[in-house]
Amino acid sequence: MSLKSDLEQLKEKGLAQIKTVDSTKVLNDIRVSLLGKKGPITNVLRGMKDLSAEERPQVGSFANEVRDSLTEAIETKKQELQTQLLNEQLSAETIDVTLPGRPVEIGTSHVLTQVQNDIEELFIGMGYQVVDGPEVEEDHYNFEMMNMPKDHPARDMQDTFYITNEILMRTHTSPVQARTLEKHDFNQGPLKMISPGRVYRRDTDDATHSHQFHQIEGLVVDKHITMADLKGTLEVLAKHVFGADRKIRLRPSYFPFTEPSVEVDVSCFKCGGKGCAVCKYTGWIEVLGAGMVHPNVIENAGIDSKIYGGFAFGLGPDRFAMLKYGIDDIREFYLNDIRFLHQFKVED
């Protein structure tokens, strides 16, 4: 039985050796010395031929057992050593995660563009088209088609930059109404449009006036568009821009191109209607003008106002942005101080 006790001894000694190893190289040497072709286990197995037929399988299976447990021990130790090594390496690679990252600059969209995009997307979602129009307009479209013939007093209200007697910088986005109405084929469906863009007035620039500002015009024309539809549409707009809790209020007003005409107030988003400095203690803030398209505007475009009618509204992104962000000087939008512009990062 000496072979078996040899194996027994070999196993004990081998396992003890493996246990104390602290490098993969030494571990490898042990593996070779114990399990290699010249190693003791191979030797034992070689000496098996001298054993009896009964003993041979017994010793053989025991030798395999010893080899397996040594192999397993070496493998386990190897994993252990590798993990240890990796941990040491990772530990040596430790960095200060609180150091700042490398700078990456992302540009911002102008706050007026943000307001405009927001409103465009709202109306696109309601099936409107976005129509662009010329900034240099004809008197014909800017005034006459909009029911403001020459000598109309309302022309004084919007002091105009003329280029010639007939050509001017548009004073509002309303001429796009006239241009679109003229071209629209009602056989293809109703007309639902908004038109954003720059407009110009002969004004001296100060905190509340700018010779250049922006407008967004809205127009819906079909066979049965009601003033209730206007109110509902503006309610959607007001809630979208100024918050879901907002209410709107229509007040009679006057525009040559709508009849009835209204000013639209939104309940103060600052105080909720109780009264504060933003709403001048009225609870309401005037945000836009609107009305039912004047029959003359419809007829001027060659459309029968007895059959077709609709509503129109006009709002100012500059005013919206000033209200929404508490900006008190309209010139900020056009001076482009980068510190001012960079505040407005979120396009919500």
């Binding site: 540009g107 088209q129 976005v130 662009d132 007093p153 049965h224 209730a228």
Partner: protein
Amino acid sequence: MKISYKWLQEYINLNENPDVLADKVSLTGIEVAGVRYPDKGLKKIVVGHVNSIEPHPDSDHLNICQVDVGESEPYQIVCGAPNVAAGQDVIVALPGSRIADNVKIKKSKMRGVESKGMICALQEIGFPENVVPKEYANGIYVFTEPVKIGEPVFKYLGMDDAILDFDITPNRADTLGMHGTAWEVGAMYHEKPTFEQPELTETATKAQDLLKVAVENKAVVPGYYLRIVENVQIKPSPMWLQIHLWNAGIRPINNVVDITNYIMLAYGQPMHAFDYDKLTRKEILVRDAKPGEVITSLDGEDHQLDPEDIVITDGVVPTGIAGVMGGLDSEITASSKTVVLEAAVFNGTRIRKTAQRHNLRTDASTRFEKGIDTASVTAALDAAASLLQQLAGGAVAQGVLVGNDIHPEDAVIDIRLDRINHILGTELTLAQVQAIFENLGFKVTVSDTDLMTVSVPPRRWDISIEADLVEEVARMYGYDNLPATLPKIAMTPGKFNPQQRFIRRSKTLLQSAGLSEVISYALTTKTKAQQFIMTADTALTKLDWPMTEDHAYLRLNLVSGLLNDIAYNVARNQTDLAIYEQGRAFTKKAGEIRPVEREYLAGAVTGLVSGDNWAQDKQVVDFYYLKGILNTYLADHDYTGDISYVANTDRPELHPGRSADVYVGEEFVGFIGQVHPAIAKAYAIPETYVFQLDLSTLLTLPTTALVSQSAPKYPATSRDIAVLLPDTVTNAQVEAVIKRRGGQHLQNIHLFDVYAGKNIEAGHKSLAYSLTFQNPEATLTENEINEQMTHITDYLTESLHAEIR
């Protein structure tokens, strides 16, 4: 227009809190800008009687007054007013009182003399300077009618009132008179106003024997009426009249002038009075002014008249500017005896232009230009004459002198109930709508079950079509009562058009590359408008009448605006900037009037891309930084044509050695370069790089439709090549050669090094490229690649005299 609550009560039964009334008026018709209570915040201000006065011993202008304020003992009050005198009934602010501007009056000593309170001027109890009668402007106010000593003064001065400030839209001039306002407010409360027309007694003297009247240009003077009142005695008006005027913001002058103003306020009909005796010829001729004519208006100003002005003349010489202001020569003065009263209708546009031309916007001109009630012209004239009779002892001559007679008619409009509900989205009944019209003073006859024939009096000249009536119904019914719905119509697809999508994508790309959007002014100076133009054959567009030279021309470029912005920021120590603008440039050919609007995109960078930090050295912007952004932007669009950059030394605003024109295929689309140092200096900006693209052109260029391909199955192989070249040879030339001889499997040319200096022959440079070859169908063999490389090197040597290293 300042609306007195108490005056309104003379016409309608009104019992509403004035603040509530103001809100209601705002929501129903006319915006009320505010409500003023003249006696608000004032207290312990009473009528006092000056028993006696004696000069203050230590002052040359103060007087010591013993004033009866209704208590057992008179109060001793020191007063500095020059017009104080014994026997006067005056305004006394008692000790402990509050006067205007929340000033508290206390018992005090003035130069050693005790003073219990203060005798007040009207201004001191809150009257605006411009309504205080002239005789009291520089002193205390003295009551001229019986008042009770010790009583608060407010009721005697009409201060126990509420004044509503109507902010009238141009179409609602009917409320520029109290009668019209009473109709408007009455309709809100279902109250019908009543107006008392004063009785008029005429004398036997015939007006036509005293004065001839004629109107030359009847088209612009559709109504012209005169009355003559003799034996008029000029004096101050009674209190009730003065109160009506000053609460409406008009200064009382004398009875004649006050009556004309009062009638204007009541009827909305401007009224002019002038002195008959000052007419050189006893005739009135209304005509267009003649060139060169001059008149001195009541305010003492001389006016060069224009043939578009209408004038009142004595047959020869102008005595007044019609509808705007009377002439100084025929002014009513204290000695006037015979007064001519004029009530007329003048063409609104003519009056508006005259008022603008002479910078004379008056209460009269405002009413004429906005439109008056043509049905009440003679009623107003008669009422004025009657008041002259009552308040100035005048004798009204028989008859009205008519220069032109107007025949006002109601506007008759047919409208169906169904039509109103169709437009408003309501379900109003005939009775509801009819009541609204009738409350407004419109006559309604119903036929055919729901067809209303509505007669609108000339007072509401703003109403002439169906839509106008719909508005009356809507506002009187109340916009708050209107339902809120969304249009119930056929569905329409909502989407951006290709240009809108292109512009949105462009902005997103540039922002991702670190550029921030700016919006500059499209109107700029002549110099800046024509800098950085794309092509030389472009003409400028100028405003006919600019506000300032800073904004007089339409821009032909976007870059100059960006440079303005950079200058603005740099001046505020913001030196690292990357900005862009998307907007329009206004180009045109010489001789054309209307410019073409082209969508441009421009960017500018200056300073550092990133500053020094612990991890990396600072990176300064340069040509290639901006070019990288520009090229990434252009490459995003997948143009069919190649993007190329061609050096251009001729752009005057760019550094001649650092600027390039940008092409896509054969098409010029813009430029990139360093701002010329001279231009940079003019803008006061540091080294700056800019680009400008014509998006309108880019939008028209063909793009390659995407056909997706699987990721390559066979490996790619790279070969490096370094070439030594004369300085003058460009990278573009080398790349062109490589591309031409690279064969179909050359996938990519990557320039990884540019070197000049040590170990390189002077005037030469070394360029090193990594070339990638790939065959999607098979693995390329060493031989195939070697063969291709030989082609490339041979041709580089041959055509560019390159030395392969």
